[in-house]
């Protein structure tokens, strides 16, 4: 079912917040809406949004690609987004990421076998002074984890297994 049909009321509410000639700005809330169910925006939804807003699918995809809070692929229960941008890299983010992946037995972008954690490398999350850092995105929202070490990260993952963050 198209997004417009499935969430008719929400789509209308969202569009009502923008003047018709600037309706393309509604792309952000619409993407959240599209992402709500599966945790990522699928191709069909991108098409739907493009149609609703009279922009191209590529423009929609480009926005999904830019923000680390939108996703175009299915992931584990939690996304662990490690910042590897320059300031973090200077504080060893690359090494941290390598080791973390090694410990979990996955590559960047992959999900652990139990479907719990997907590790991603992202650009600056505006916590440069507290690196190494990552953010988790999961059922309980977005959380920052700063000054991280491998041990503390593994502890966190254990806790997540238990359903607590």
């Amino acid at each position: 079912m198209s997004l417009e049909k499935k969430y008719a009321k929400e789509v209308k509410q969202i569009l009502a917040k923008y003047p018709p000639e600037h309706k393309r700005s509604a792309v952000m809330p619409l993407l959240y809406l599209a992402q709500r169910e599966e945790g990522y925006v699928n191709k069909e939804s991108m098409k739907d949004i493009a149609k609703i807003l009279d922009i191209t699918e590529t423009e929609v995809a480009s926005i999904v690609g830019f923000y680390s809070l939108y996703h175009d692929e299915k992931a584990g229960k939690y996304r662990m987004q490690v910042c590897t941008d320059l300031p973090c890299a200077l504080r060893g983010a690359d090494e941290f990421l390598d080791k973390l992946c090694g410990n979990l037995g996955i590559k960047v972008g992959e999900t652990t076998e139990d479907g719990l954690v997907t590790v991603e490398a992202v650009m600056c999350l505006a916590a440069c002074d507290r690196a190494p850092m990552f953010q988790t995105q999961g059922p309980d929202g977005i959380k920052y984890h700063e000054y991280m070490t491998l041990d503390r990260t593994m502890e966190l993952i254990e806790a997540l297994k238990g359903g607590k963050e």
């Binding site: 191709k43 191209t56 590529t58 480009s62 690609g65 600056c124």
Partner: protein
């Protein structure tokens, strides 16, 4: 002219129009500031930092508003940091340093950063030799990088963005020129950035990929070898290429092109065209081309090219000498003097058409234009005035497009009309279905097929739309042949001409009528005196026919039948066609790439094209063949060179009286300055050194009395039950002789489909994608049904030149084929 400001660049005092960016002002003054993301045709974004310069501005006393003086000079305050020349606008008294130590240092730094992750595979890169990054690295780069080369990131090198354009991810420097071109200029934002930072990459997820007919232009303005065309990639090194000026032969816009050629082993040591590039003509195509113009030139090549004259002997065509072939044809034409007919198309140059018309006139024959569209007599009277430049139309002006899908029929006009809309022009799009121009239109009128005349007549009634048109400072009408044939377009063109006359929109620049013709030189054919006929079958029956540059047998079974019952057929073309197969005599003609000549665009601009490659086999230019044939018939015509024929033509065709062949080759400086050594500024488009052409003066502008004959309404066609009104429509990539042979265009040409409103389809129990049988007027055909909710019911829209012969609206029987499947 806009206000000028005075500033100093590198110690030299210069003036520049207010509002210009520092980068552009410097360019104007002959100072090259290195740029990557900046392009004079795009909005500034300042995202690459290549153009860093020192900028100082005069200091003003807050209290008095007067400049503060220092040692008798205005005090100049420099910003503590370097600024981007591409985002700062010039201002009075500004001081710019583009080559100071500080500026150089900044520029060097930017190049060094860019190269930290550039593969530098210039030796195998298509852009190598004409690459801004390569050039600027040589000029501004430091010899050594302080970065670790082993850590360069490596990315995919062959990413098809569509089947026509390939992306090399490693080479992209993320300047966004391509994205911005598609968004700002083409109005089709089908490219975008994915991800961020080091991971940023160009994507296109449209269907088909990179869904725009302007895609090739991005390869010209991409400042690196990241974007390449499927046609040219790994095709040649730029420095091996010779360049010759030409004119696109695909549609009536008349885009100025450059043919890049080289001798190559793959072609058996022959000199061949390697690519078609835009050549700047700001009044025609600016620095752009559509993809059809860029890619469809391959029809001039291949083994189907005719190389030798042929004469039918014992039922078979056999090679013959030029003398023998022309003599045979001449004897037959002389013997059937009363029945001599010349059938020629707007694929030919003015020189060819002029000789053909002269021959027909002197020998007492008839000259028929092979076209489904009439109205060229009217464009001679009230065509757009000399000085017309769509690029100057904007606020206060109006453009009406009727019965034409400009995107499919004349893409660069589409682009220019869209840009006029961007500048505030009132664009009125009147069509029987939705077209891509609707999005940019101020008003959209949707009429039913057959109501074209009524639509124009409605402009006489008072309405918002008619008001906007009538009161416009300048107004242009584009009319086409969507849903219409010769008779329909004749009626429509008169109505449009009348409307222009009544509203005072004739006889001056940016006012008048433009025919969206089917072929590049239909306008020229009209000027020279060729006319289409409504009933071509009848006109050919039992005649002795000389067919030039047309394939009636391949196009239409009815014409094929008509040509079976003729006294004699001589066919002159560049390729083997279904028509050459039935000919009694065949003359091999040279392609436009092999000879000189002139064409007249829909805006009535006479333009020259030049020979770029040697002729194939024994082929000759059309005008020369006609002169040889004429001689055998006892008629003396010139055939030595295009310029000689042009001079005679200019003398005898009144509208061209003032013209000389040389005048067509004149150029003047155009802005922006492109195509010089600094490919980084305008891209790889060519500067115009071989002629901007000359626009003809329509009678209305010359002060002649303009009489437009009364418009007659035709009786409407009435389909019965089980029948539909079949209407012709145009498609950019079709199966016409001039497109078909470019293999990589196959996907864009697609299968033959016809469009119906879902309700209509339902009535016939046809689902989308199902095959239907159509029969009308001696034509039997099958095609896949596509739904179009924007057209009226009771109508089936059939594309021209896609295997179903349709020249004008007809009543058609429709039957659904039992099982769904592919069309034959």
């Amino acid at each position: 002219m806009s206000k000028q400001v005075t500033l100093t660049i590198n110690g030299k005092q210069v003036t520049a129009p207010e509002g210009l960016t520092v980068a552009d002002a410097a360019k104007l003054a002959g100072v090259d500031i290195p740029v990557f993301c900046h392009h004079p045709k795009l909005e500034p974004v300042g995202m690459c930092r290549m153009c860093l310069v020192e900028i100082g501005r005069p200091v003003f006393d807050r209290a008095t508003g007067q400049p503060v003086m220092e040692n008798g000079q205005p005090k100049i305050q420099f910003m503590p940091k370097l600024e981007t020349a591409c985002t700062n606008r010039v201002s009075e008294g500004m001081v710019v340093l583009t080559q100071s130590e500080k500026a150089n240092d900044g520029q060097r730094g930017t190049v060094e950063f860019l190269l930290t992750s550039h593969p530098l595979d210039c030796p195998i890169c298509d852009k190598g030799g004409e690459c801004p990054l390569q050039n600027l690295t040589m000029e501004h780069g430091s010899g050594k990088s302080r970065f670790n080369y082993d850590e360069k990131q490596h990315l995919e090198k062959m990413v098809p963005l569509g089947e026509l354009i390939y992306l090399d991810r490693e080479r992209c420097i993320q300047c966004a020129r391509c994205i911005r071109f598609q968004d700002e200029v083409a109005g089709e934002a089908v490219l975008g950035f994915d991800e961020r930072g080091r991971h940023t990459q160009i994507i296109s997820i449209s269907e088909p990929g990179f869904d725009s007919v302007f895609s090739g232009n991005t390869t010209d303005i991409c400042p690196v070898g990241a974007l390449t065309t499927v046609d040219f990639r790994f095709g040649a090194r730029p420095w091996e290429l010779k360049a010759e000026a030409s004119i696109c032969s695909q549609c009536p816009v008349g885009c100025n092109t450059t043919l890049n050629t080289r001798r190559e082993a793959k072609a058996g040591g022959e000199i061949v065209v390697k690519r078609v590039m835009p050549r700047q003509n700001e009044e025609v195509n600016e620095i752009w081309l559509c993809d059809k113009g860029r890619f469809a030139y391959h029809y001039t090549e291949g083994k189907e090219r005719l190389t030798k004259p042929m004469v039918r002997k014992d039922e078979k065509l056999a090679r013959a000498s030029w003398d023998n072939a022309t003599k045979t044809a001449a004897e037959n034409f002389v013997a059937n003097k009363k029945d001599f007919v010349v059938l020629a198309s707007g694929r030919l140059s003015n020189e060819d058409l002029f000789n053909l018309k002269s021959l027909a006139d002197t020998a007492g024959g008839e000259a028929i234009l092979y076209s489904d569209m009439d109205g060229g007599e009217l464009t001679q009277l009230v065509g757009v005035g000399a000085g017309t430049n769509l690029g100057t139309m904007g606020k206060g002006d109006a453009i009406l497009v009727i019965a034409s899908d400009l995107y499919e029929e004349a893409p660069i006009w589409w682009l220019r009309v869209k840009q006029a809309a961007d500048r505030g022009a009132t664009v009125i799009v009147a069509n029987p279905r939705a077209t891509k121009l609707d999005r940019f239109a101020t008003y959209t009128i949707r009429y039913s097929y057959g109501d074209e005349l009524k639509t124009i007549n409605d402009f006489e009634k008072k309405s918002k739309i008619s008001d906007a048109f009538t009161k416009a400072k300048n107004a242009v009408i584009f009319y086409g042949n969507e849903g219409l044939g010769v008779t329909g377009t004749s009626v429509l063109s008169s109505a449009c001409a009348n409307l222009l006359k009544e509203t005072g929109h004739t006889g001056s620049a940016n006012n008048g009528l433009i025919g969206v013709w089917q072929r590049a030189n239909d306008q020229g054919a009209f000027e020279i005196g060729f006319r289409p006929v409504a009933d071509l079958e009848k006109a050919l029956k039992n005649k002795a026919v000389y067919i030039v540059g047309a394939d009636p047998v391949g196009d239409d079974p009815n014409l094929a039948k008509a040509l079976k019952n003729v006294k004699f057929v001589a066919v002159q073309d560049i390729r083997e066609t279904a028509t050459t197969e039935i000919a009694d005599v065949v003359f091999p003609a040279q392609a436009f790439t092999e000879r000189d000549g002139t064409l007249i665009s829909g805006e009535r601009r006479v333009q020259r094209f030049y020979a770029a490659v040697p002729a194939v086999g024994d082929s000759k230019p059309d005008y020369a063949i006609t002169a040889m044939l004429a001689k055998q018939m006892g008629v003396i015509l010139q055939g030595t060179s295009a310029s000689v024929v042009f001079d005679i033509l200019a003398n005898s065709v009144e509208a061209l009286n003032e013209l000389t062949y040389d005048a067509l080759a004149q150029v003047k400086e155009q802005w922006p300055l492109v195509g010089r050594n600094d490919v980084y500024y305008g891209g790889t488009t060519y500067d115009n050194t071989k002629g901007l052409g000359v626009q003809l003066i329509p009678l209305a502008q010359a002060g002649g009395a303009v009489k437009i004959s009364k418009v007659r309404k035709e009786a409407a066609l009435r389909p019965k039950d089980k029948e539909l009104l079949a209407v012709p429509s145009n498609k950019l990539y079709d199966l016409g002789v001039t497109v078909q042979t470019a293999e990589f265009l196959e996907q864009r040409i697609g299968e033959t489909s016809v469009a119906m409103h879902p309700t209509t389809a339902k009535k016939f129990e046809a689902a989308e994608g199902q095959v239907v049988k159509l029969s009308f007027d001696g034509v039997q055909a099958e095609a896949v049904v596509k739904f179009d909710e924007t057209i009226g019911t009771g109508v089936v829209r059939i594309p021209r030149s896609m295997g179903i012969a349709i020249r004008e609206p007809v009543v058609a029987k429709v039957q659904v084929k039992a099982a769904a499947g592919k069309a034959k």
